[in-house]
Each structure stands twice: as C-alpha cells, then as structure tokens.
Amino acid sequence: MIEVKGLNKYFGKNHILKDITESIDKDEKVVIVGPSGSGKSTFLRCLNLLEKPTSGDIKFFGESIIEKKININIVRQKLGMVFQQFNLFNNMTVMDNITLAPIQLKLKTKEQAEKKGIELLKRIGLDMHKDKYPSTLSGGQKQRIAIIRSLAMNPDMILFDEPTSALDPEMVLEVLELMKEVSNQGIGMVVVTHEMDFARDVATRILFMDDGRIVEQNSPKEFFKNPQNERLKTFLNKVI
C-alpha cells in the first residue's frame, strides 16, 4: 500500500503538487482523472521517485521511500510502472525486454525467467514474437508487452500513466482488456487515464485532480452520478 503525506512538488518556481495527502490500499484499483497539466503524471512519478518530491512523505508498505538510507531500487521491483510511450528497450528482443530485470536483479535464473516470459507472452498471444525487436511491433503489442514486462517482476502494485493515449483507436481495447485482466489478479493499480468506461468498470475509486490537488474522489458510481466540484462537473461534461 501507498501512503502519501503532505506531498509538495515544485519545478523551479512552479508549484505543481500542492500538499497532497492520500492513501491507496494494496489491492485497490484507483483511477486518476483530471485536466491536462493538473499534475497527474507528476503525482504518479513521485510515487516511485522518478520525480523527487520537494517535501512530504511517501510510504510503500509502511516504509518511507524518501529517506536517504532506503534503496529505492528494491521498492521499484515491487512497484511497477507502465508508460504512455511504452518504453520497451529498443536494443533488445521482446524476450530480453521481459527477462532483463528478473535476471540482472538475480530474482530468477535465465531459464526460469524465460519460462515465465513465454508463459506471459502466451497469455497475450504474442509468444511467436519473442525474438522480434520492438520497432517491428504495433503500438498495442508494444504496450501489452510493456505490461507483462512489469508483471514478470511479480509486483505488488503497478502505476499506469495514460497507457492507451499514444495508441491508434483500434488498439486501445486490447490494452484495456489486458489491464482488466491484471486488475483481477490481486495487484494494486493506480491508473491515470481518459478512458471513462474503463474507470467505471474497473476502478474501486476515482480521484479527480485539478491544479495540483486531489479535489474530489468517490466510488465510480457516485463519481459520475453525483459530482460536487464545479471543475469536475465541467470536466465530466467535456469527456463524456
């Protein structure tokens, strides 16, 4: 689980995240929505320290990840991330993409890692592509491989930053389907997305961010039916 307390983030003089306090349970599926520039990505990237918070505390399963003495790499092994631009390693085959971290971090032998890799690739029907390079794959295939690359680490939670925003429309569905599947296997998810149907179907809770704050949150049903905040009402009118 993730506990955020008094999180502030500045880029130079710009106050991007404003005193955010929030807590996300280990098997929750939290969807974050909000207008562009409201700080969704920055918030997500603070959670695994790709961005360094200016102040405040973040705990992952009770342990502060801000403290100097903590090894953030250990935390990241259990807290995956999926990016808008997929970020598959261009210089490696699909299989090497999946097995690099488990092997290098000595979590698995090469044989174990590849066995798991094949298993995961079969699950998404891409096992015949295991020796291909990312540049030869479609966006939807790349993103699904990025998701199983993250699953290969057996993470407790995964952060998704607009995983379908860079995809051609016809490929969005296959990625959302896989994410739904992942949501059913007890892995906590924090998903920034504009896919409102996904939020409605999968989320246990939806957060609305505006101008660096989480200004409203609710169960999907109430979130869409009974929005309170004026900005949220405007936002929902625009996206639905």
Binding site: N73, I74, M81, N87, L105, R149
Partner: protein, 232 residues
C-alpha cells in the same frame, strides 16, 4: 614538356636523393603511431569522464569529481592544442625527452575532452523513457547504462569516434614543435634541403589527403552498415 621535366627532377630530389623517402616514411610512421595511441588514450579518458560525469549528474554524488571533469573539458576545449602540447613537453614532462610519448599523452588528453563530449551527447540522444523504464523495474544506474543506454548510444558514438581519429591524424601535424619528425616535419626538413617548397609541401598535403579521404570513405561505409543493422 618542361613541366614533366620539372616533375621528374622534383620527385627525384624530394624523395630519391639521400634516401629522403625514408624520412617521409619515418614521419608518416610517427604520425600514424601518435594518432592511434592518442585516440586510444582519448577514448579511455573520454569514456570514463563521460560515464562518471553522468553518474554525478544523476545521483548528485561525488560532486567534486564532477567539477574536475568539467574543468578538464573547459580547459582543453578553451585553449589551443599547440599550447597544450608545449606545456606538456616543456613544463609537465620537462625532465623527460621521450617526445613521442609526451605527444601521445598530450594529444590523448586533448582528445579525451572531445571524446567525453561525444559520449555525453550520445547518451543524451537516447530517449529519456528508456532509462526511466529500466529504473522503474528496479535496475540500478550501472545496469541501466550498461544494458540499455550505452548499447543504444554506441550507434551515434562510434562514427563520431572515427571522426575524432581522423581529426587527430591532422592535428598531430604540430608535433614538429617538440622535435618529433612527423609527416609534416619530414616535409619541412626536405623543403629546407631541396629549396623546393612546392614539391615537398604539396606532397605532404597529398599524403594527408589520401589518408584522411581513405579513412572517411571507410567510415562512411561502416556507418551505413551500422544504420542498416539499426533496429530501433
């Protein structure tokens, strides 16, 4: 006819008389020798400074070493090569008279700063998302550099290193200032003996041109092969 006659006598006095071709060969040998070893030193120094510099920048650790690297690059790039060579010879190694070795060190140190920049730029040319994806899986900086960033940067770095070698071949022409008979100095010596600046100096220029063009051509072909095998 007169012109052909001139070429004949010019060639004869410049290369044949007193076995002067041997002087040219010695000079060419020194030029190539210095260029090769200076490049090797430059690549080693440049790689280490670039990678350490990158480590300092991303972790904020070992900052003083980062400053030293920056100062090194600024000083080397901000002063003429010839003055660096003279300082190395007359001040730093004033007690040694192994001029070729000193030239290799001076040219190597000079090249290191440029190589450092080349490698820095090569690493920066790799999309930031690649390293972030590695980090998000729990890989450490060394693993990210070794398995993800450097293999992708190398395609930009290698051709630039080839160019660096070509540059060094030309730049070694100032080695004569510290009593080394390199190709340029050989031509200059012959000029003073034959009193024919045309034949001696133009021959030297021609030899440089052939070497540099040959290397550039080989480099182009190689770059093409690299880009064909580029899968990204």
């Amino acid at each position: 006819m007169e012109f052909i006659e001139y070429i004949k006598t010019g060639f004869h006095s410049t290369f044949i008389v007193d076995d002067r071709y041997k002087l040219f060969l010695e000079g060419l040998g020194n030029t190539v020798y210095i260029a090769i070893f200076a490049t090797i030193i430059g690549v080693i120094i440049g790689s280490i400074s670039a990678i350490v510099g990158f480590y300092v920048k991303t972790t904020g650790r070992l900052k003083p070493i980062g400053w030293i690297i920056n100062i090194y690059v600024i000083v080397i790039r901000g002063t003429p090569l010839l003055i660096q060579l003279l300082i190395t010879y007359f001040i730093i190694f004033s007690s040694s008279d192994n001029a070729v070795m000193i030239a290799i060190i001076a040219f190597g140190l000079n090249s290191g700063a440029y190589v450092c920049e080349v490698i820095r730029a090569g690493i920066l040319s790799v999309d930031k998302g690649q390293g972030e994806a590695g980090a998000s899986l729990g890989l450490n900086l060394y693993q990210i550099m070794r398995f993800i960033q450097l293999p992708q940067a190398i395609k930009n770095i290698l051709p630039a290193l080839g160019n660096e070698f070509i540059n060094i071949v030309k730049e070694t022409s100032v080695a004569g200032y510290i009593a080394i008979v390199d190709l340029t100095k050989a031509g200059d010596i012959v000029r003073s003996q034959t009193f024919d600046p045309y034949f001696s100096l133009l021959s030297v220029a021609g030899i440089y041109l052939i070497i540099v063009s040959g290397l550039s051509f080989a480099l182009k072909k190689w770059e093409k092969r690299l880009s064909i095998s580029d899968r990204s």
